[in-house]
Symmetry: C2
Subunit: 329 residues, 2 copies
């Protein structure tokens, strides 16, 4: 189905040509979504329940449940913070905390809003669980050795490798990354990038790197200047709309000035700690598979019927990695 | 004020060091916002009330007014559609229409949702005013002659001129543009780009280009693949949060399936057609001014205290042109 059709046309199309008929026509230039839908089962990779964080917000004003699912980053990225996040979830630390900040075209942030103690006159924070790691700033990036000193381009898939924020962008294990050659050209730094829906770790001034207790997600144009300055630990794969559509905070940086506007978090759990029947299951499209290359090319060069001029390129955040919900085994 | 501080730190800073004191310190590397705040009055350009479109939505559930202000693009871009939009506003055509589509990380779209006529069994649309132009697809871009055949780079301001969607991005008259050299290298095409908050014209299949009656704005990562495929006619300069925070539609493409979810539009007027006292006044930062170059550089290379690694670049949609509200003369 094409974009930006008027409602009248949408209705007319729905009447005149059922989608199934259109899809079986196999057009010469299928849409990115059609390419993904045609992927063989072997192109999809299961996401382990232990890599999913399930955040249940308090029901909305109409009583509807609001569940947000976060996929945690795989090794070797951001693992110190992710170990902390697993501990925080296991300790049920976030239960009763809240979403406290919604800044338009930027981030939604959640964690402990603190408690104004009238006796001390101070804002007091909830105690963190024992044994959280202090992760060094060096962990914002991963140093890798080029396979060959002369072979500095380890991935070149046309114009969507061009990046304003690094010397190359790439996909690995289902994640968008940026990469920069070092002064020692045998070394490259790789790092995860702040695309829409990326989840990062709030922190105070350097050298603090945050524990993982204070988290945010991106709800606007990719704020790539945060890359290498804050840890990216995951991405929202379901329920993003419950965060992105929240009223914007009227305070500084989008914090809710009125505490009653904060959205209570009922619980955050690792999916593997939920009852089996309640564990959501997801798969991502293998970014090494041929289907993904076709999908990325189609995102960069839209030739499906609505389009008249293919862009000829795409930035990495405009090629979201397809993720789908699947039923339990 | 820095980003991603915990609430506790934010509170502590507010107590320990009032913002005014911090700002008068004039740090070595001021933030982009501080650079803009320090701009001389001569760096700001007035926006004519005749270039502002004022959209009043029905009040929200709590009875709060919701006003959205759109700045229309200057010549030579998209002027056919903009003439239509001026006629539609003058005819009060949008009054009583609605916001009908909210698709996460994509667009909010408004216009005539149509009326299901039980007699004809068809969805009927509101009649358009007489005399609207049919704008050709060639108007998606503007051809310009390079000043010199050999001089194909007319603007080079470092890495934020690099673009995934054209051979160069640039700012002109306060607007982000993309530019591509033609087969005849004496010619360049320029076009306005789909950044967050850009306003475009919904259309049906090519060669339809839309009249301007159906409009949308971008509420997510810049969908730059729409450039040169749909007309960009303006941008939201105030009240964006009333659109971006709307509940996402559950129907195909984010259309509201339940008509009661549509947000009524009370009126859309050119600001110059409002009573003088009700006309909003705005200025944008002159994109030719030295302040703007400093601001863009600071966006691309954040060195203010929160940041530890400057990005070294920025894409054009991550350098939003500063716009400010001013009081009437």
């Amino acid at each position: 189905m094409n974009k930006f059709l008027s409602i009248a046309t949408l209705a007319a199309l729905a009447v005149a040509s059922p989608l199934t008929a259109q899809e079986t026509e196999q057009p010469e230039f299928p849409s990115p979504n059609a390419i993904v839908e045609a992927a063989p089962a072997s192109d999809w990779v299961k996401i382990a329940p232990s890599d999913l964080l399930v955040m249940d917000l308090a029901p909305d004003a109409e009583g509807n449940a609001r569940r947000v699912v976060i996929q945690l980053m795989p090794e070797p990225f951001s693992q110190g913070w992710i170990r902390n996040i697993r501990k925080l979830a296991a300790a049920h630390w976030w239960d009763g905390t809240s979403i406290n900040r919604v800044q338009d075209n930027y981030v939604v942030q959640w964690g402990d809003a603190g408690y104004d103690n009238p006796e001390s006159g101070k804002t007091e924070q909830k105690a963190l669980p024992e044994g959280l790691e202090t992760v060094p700033e060096s962990a914002y990036t991963q140093q890798i050795t080029s396979r060959d000193p002369a072979d500095t381009i380890i991935w070149d898939s046309g114009s969507y490798g061009v990046d304003n924020y690094s010397d190359m962008s790439l996909f690995e294990k289902g994640w968008p990354l940026a990469s920069q050659i070092g002064v020692d050209t045998r070394l490259r730094a790789h790092w995860p990038v702040h695309c829409y829906g990326a989840v990062g770790v709030g922190r105070n001034y350097s050298p603090d790197t945050g524990s993982g207790a204070e988290l945010y997600t991106v709800i606007g144009h990719a704020p790539r200047h945060l890359d290498r300055n804050i840890a990216v630990v995951g991405r929202i794969i379901e329920g993003m709309e419950y965060l992105s559509s929240l009223p914007r905070g009227k305070g500084q940086l989008g914090f809710y000035e009125d505490a009653s506007k904060r959205v209570p978090i009922s619980s955050i759990r690792l999916a593997c700690e939920l009852p089996t029947a309640d564990q959501p299951r997801f798969e991502y499209l293998d970014t090494e598979a041929e289907t993904f290359a076709k999908y990325a090319d189609a995102r960069a060069n839209r030739r499906d019927p609505f389009f008249i001029v293919p862009a000829g390129g795409a930035d990495i955040c405009n090629i979201p990695v397809p993720v789908r919900r699947v039923s339990a085994e």
